[in-house]
């Protein structure tokens, strides 16, 4: 038997390009990718939405016709012998086709039949899969009744009924709660370790890169890096710091640091500002702060994301992401921060009264309790987060606050109103940006702006001025006549925010505002939100994204419709602090909360 290194790799791509044509336009999805994935290891395909991850996975699985280049799975040409290749691949798409009206056992049986798995040996395999995924106690439960994380695990089990040699997983962890996410990773590691399976896994979460043996970094269809994560992160070693300043708000500090020459990246992480510098060496307080504000600077280990952002920012402007010019702190930003809406006039509500207030808010759908007595209060100018996995009840809470769904029980007040019962004009005080940036896709950028300006009853000349402001502030001018459906994701997000801010609302509701967008666009987005909060706008964000939680002043962690904990990010993280984990991440904190919540029930 030849040594493993002599065998052909699990996956080999050579000059793979792919383009989609719609309505006469061609959009490149992949551009000349040459890469490989080794046997017996996890290879991460990492990049934001629209980077080409799914196209790459589908091409490798032989589900898309390869147009140019060559793909080999275990040395088999996928284009020439698709059946041969497919018989050795297991592929789990982003939304695995579970039959929601069948039970867990029936789903497994069905997939075993579809895959022609012989009866003999199935018993043992099933037992193994059920043990691995922890689904054994739920065999007779309908798949539709499983939580998001359990559905993903069942999908994985169904993919594994036949033992594949190469396992392709397309974004298996999106929207899954952190505990399930950790369990999914444990399953993947287990498969690699004990069954010597090759796993190719795509994700838009940069922190997952660190769990892969090697990563393929995709950005706008191009391969911008193929390394092992540790040495990739090491490129910025000695250049990452936590900075804090007594007496200066974290948002002002971040704003200032982002503009300081020599700083590549400055993001808010709880109470600190995480700074990545251009060159190594100790960061001096004087260099960062000429005004001599006392700064505390602590070096921190580099993260994968630090390197990725540094890489994106150093790449040529031609390959730059949409948000780059602004995120770099160049010209548009100068007039940008001045162009942000002036502080809205204060409402009748006096001083410290909360702007958003929920008390024992409950929502039932039949016998299912989606939101269970949720209470919180948000003050003016605060960024408040609802953190939770898919199905935790955050979207339902969000919809009740916006007046889209009546609560079954409890009270809520937004700017002093219950938006469901209040006069239509009260809705003019809120701005709303939904998941996936719901815009009119057939309309152009300008037509969308015009429509929302009229919808919020802006009158000339103010209306024209606001449209001009939106085009200028969000850098949408050159795309004014572009059909919004065809905009890159980052621009869609900007347009959605521009539409939501058209009428200078005093309260902004954001539902998963930056899920899937690339890190630069995410930074740019949060800079704007920070500026808005500084000017007195109250912001409520729902997210399942740990990183977004770091930007919030305070957050409520939701699971199964209940608030597990509420507080500022630092205090939440402090709860998870243990001897072996002195610097817990938001995710650690979340997992600790979930575990604490499930313990009494298990006992």
């Amino acid at each position: 038997m030849p040594a493993e290194s002599e065998l052909p790799p699990a996956l080999r791509l050579e000059g793979v390009s792919h383009a989609f044509t719609s309505r006469g336009r061609t959009a490149a999805a992949l551009d000349g990718i040459t890469a490989r994935a080794e046997r017996g290891a996890v290879t991460g395909v990492i990049g934001p939405d629209g980077a080409g991850k799914t196209t790459l996975m589908r091409l490798a699985a032989g589900l898309l016709q390869l147009r140019s280049g060559r793909i080999e799975v275990l040395g088999i040409d996928v284009a020439r012998n698709p059946d041969d290749a497919r018989s050795r691949i297991g592929y789990m798409p982003q939304r695995f086709g579970l039959y929601e009206d069948l039970t867990v056992r029936e789903n497994l049986d069905l997939y075993a039949k579809v895959q022609n798995v012989p009866r003999a040996g199935r018993e043992a395999r099933d037992g193994e899969l059920l043990h691995m995924t922890g689904l054994a106690p739920f065999l007779s439960r309908l798949a539709g009744r499983l939580s998001g994380g359990m559905k993903q695990k069942l999908g994985l089990a169904c993919t594994l009924v036949r033992v594949p040699e190469v396992l392709l997983l397309d974004e298996p962890t999106v929207g899954v709660d952190p505990v399930s996410r950790r369990e999914l990773w444990e399953i993947v590691d287990h498969l690699v370790r004990t069954e010597r399976m090759a796993v190719v896994l795509s994700t838009s979460y940069l922190d997952e890169a660190e769990r892969c043996r090697s990563v393929l970094l995709l950005h706008e269809g191009r391969l911008v890096g193929a390394t092992d994560p540790a040495s990739f992160a090491a490129q910025v070693s000695g250049r990452s710091f936590h900075v804090s300043a007594a007496g200066t708000g974290k948002r002002q500090l971040q704003e200032r640091l982002a503009r300081t020459p020599g700083v590549v990246d400055a993001t808010i992480q709880g109470a600190f500002v995480r700074v990545v510098t251009e060159s190594g060496g100790q960061l001096s307080a004087a260099e960062l702060s000429p005004q001599a504000t006392p700064l505390t600077i602590v070096p921190v280990p580099p993260r994968f994301e630090d390197s990725f952002v540094a890489l994106l920012k150093s790449s040529s402007p031609a390959t730059a992401s949409p948000g780059q010019a602004i995120a770099r702190g160049e010209t548009p930003e100068e007039n940008g921060s001045r162009g942000t809406p002036s502080p809205p006039e204060t409402t009748g509500s006096a001083g410290n009264e909360p702007v958003i207030f929920a008390d024992r808010l409950t929502r039932r759908f039949g016998s299912f309790i989606a939101v269970d007595a949720v209470s919180f209060a948000v003050r003016r100018g605060e960024i408040f987060g609802l953190l939770g996995a898919n199905g935790a009840g955050k979207s339902t809470t969000f919809r009740m606050l916006c007046g889209l769904l009546p609560p079954s029980d409890g009270t809520l007040r937004v700017a002093g109103y219950d938006l469901r019962r209040a006069a239509a004009s009260a809705r003019g005080r809120i701005g709303y940006m939904a998941q996936k940036f719901s815009l009119y896709g057939d309309l152009s950028v300008l037509e969308n702006l015009r429509f929302f300006a009229s919808a919020y009853r802006l009158l000339e000349p103010h209306r024209g001025a606001r449209i001009a402001w939106a085009l200028e502030e969000f850098g949408l001018g050159p795309h004014a006549d572009a059909v919004s459906r065809e905009l890159p994701l980052g621009f869609k997000q900007r347009l959605a925010l521009a539409c939501a801010l058209m009428h200078e609302p005093e309260i902004l509701f954001l539902d998963e505002p930056t899920s899937g967008v690339d890190p630069l666009a995410r930074r740019e987005f949060w800079r704007r939100i920070n500026a808005l909060a500084e000017s007195g706008v109250t912001v409520l964000v729902t997210t399942h994204f740990m990183e977004e939680a770091e930007y919030c002043d305070r957050l409520a962690v939701l699971a199964q419709g209940k608030v597990l904990a509420a507080g500022d990010p630092e205090s939440l993280k402090a709860r998870a602090r243990t001897a072996e984990r002195p610097q817990p991440t938001m995710e650690d904190a979340f997992i600790a909360l979930l575990e604490a919540a499930s313990r009494p029930r298990a006992a």
């Binding site: 916006c402 809120i430 815009l439 896709g441 309309l443 015009r450 009229s454 919808a455 009853r457």
Partner: protein, 369 residues
């Protein structure tokens, strides 16, 4: 307020017209259906295949056969020598009718006895069979009258003399084509309006719309008026085609016709918006639209007369806006009736429109999913 509603209407029209697929739905299928229905949907029979089983072989029997074949209605496809071939021919649908002339035909005629002629008709399609029998009957009646005249017999005391008012040639195209105005207007309006809210639900823009200061009445107007515009244009094109291409006389004035059209389209919009606000996805909306469309055409009097339906069903048709509009459109086209004649229809349609629009507006906000 009007500015905001206008913006909504402009947005709605842009969304429909900018999408090549929905643009096509508005133009191509109605055109094809107009042509296909206009020519294909007819009750007039042409060239019905018949078999002749003439056992008499006389001058009189040849005369009778000649009268059958002289009209363009019947066409001989077989001549039989024995009765045994009748059943297989009908079973195989080779012929719809067999004309069997008894061998005593001439003898009976000459001896002033009733001369039997047998008609064997394929009864599987009862409607067609009845029409065929009607034609055959009138040919045989004509033959009898001619025979009596030629042989100097006294004519029968009562003679039928038919005049069809409003449609002298009893052309069924005159009956069908104005009906197509109603059918196609309903299809297009229902699809445009019915899918619009569901489409916005799918993309999430409907929530976006609900959090703006729009009131539900304004959203209703913004969704309904584009449908009214599109439905009105569609109907006008078909009315023009009916007059100019199919040559159906438009005897009445445009006012009663367009007043009826306005109320009809408004009620279809109301129903479309109701379906749309109940449906979560476009697919559900499409299914809902068809669930409404098929019975509404069946129970409208478009093809089968309402008077023939059981009383309970007849009462049910009052809820069907198309039933009322068909009366208006046929009345204006063929009778040239004035608006005063249609007050009950106008009132019924106004009632349906009001109720369904109100319900749709209510559902916009109340619908929880």
């Amino acid at each position: 307020m009007w500015r905001a509603v206008l913006a909504l209407i402009v947005k709605e029209l842009l969304a429909v017209l900018k999408d090549p697929k929905s643009r096509m739905v508005l133009i191509v299928p109605p055109l094809i259906q107009l042509i296909v229905f206009g020519y294909a949907a007819t009750f007039d029979l042409n060239r019905v295949p018949i078999a002749i089983y003439d056992q008499d072989h006389s001058e009189a029997s040849r005369d009778l056969v000649a009268q059958f074949l002289g009209s363009r209605i019947f066409e001989r496809v077989a001549t039989l020598q024995s009765a045994r071939r009748i059943t297989p021919l009908i079973d195989a649908r080779k012929v719809d009718l067999v004309l069997s002339i008894d061998r005593r035909f001439t003898r009976d005629l000459l001896t002033h006895q009733p001369a039997p002629v047998q008609l064997i008709v394929d009864g599987r399609d009862s409607n067609t069979a009845l029409i065929i029998l009607g034609y055959a009957n009138s040919i045989i009646t004509d033959f009898s009258l001619d025979w009596m005249q030629a042989h100097g017999e006294r004519p029968v005391p009562a003679v039928l003399d038919v005049r069809a008012r409003y449609n002298p040639t009893l052309s069924s195209q005159w009956f069908i084509v104005p009906g197509i105005v109603a059918v196609l207007t309903q299809v297009v309006t229902l699809l445009v309006v019915g899918l619009s809210v569901a489409r916005e639900r799918e993309t999430g823009t409907f929530d976006q719309l609900l959090v703006t200061p729009y009131r539900q009445g304004e959203i209703l107007l913004g969704k309904g008026l584009p449908g009214l515009l599109i439905g009105g244009i569609e109907a006008s094109v078909i009315i023009l085609a009916a007059v100019l291409w199919f040559g159906v006389p438009l005897r009445g004035a445009l006012f009663p016709l367009y007043l009826g059209l306005l109320l009809f389209v408004a009620s279809v919009i109301g129903i479309g918006l109701m379906i749309s606000s109940i449906a979560v996805t476009q697919q559900q909306a499409l299914l809902g639209a068809f669930l409404f469309m098929v019975p509404s055409i069946m129970l409208s009097g478009f093809a089968t007369p309402i008077a023939n339906m059981p009383p309970l069903i007849q009462d049910l048709t009052w809820l069907n806006p198309m039933r009322h509009f068909l009366i208006v459109v046929r009345g204006v086209f063929l009778e040239g009736a004035a608006s005063g004649t249609f007050l009950p229809e106008y009132a019924a349609m106004a009632g349906i429109a009001g109720t369904s629009l109100f319900a749709a507006g209510w559902l916009f906000r109340r619908r929880v999913y």
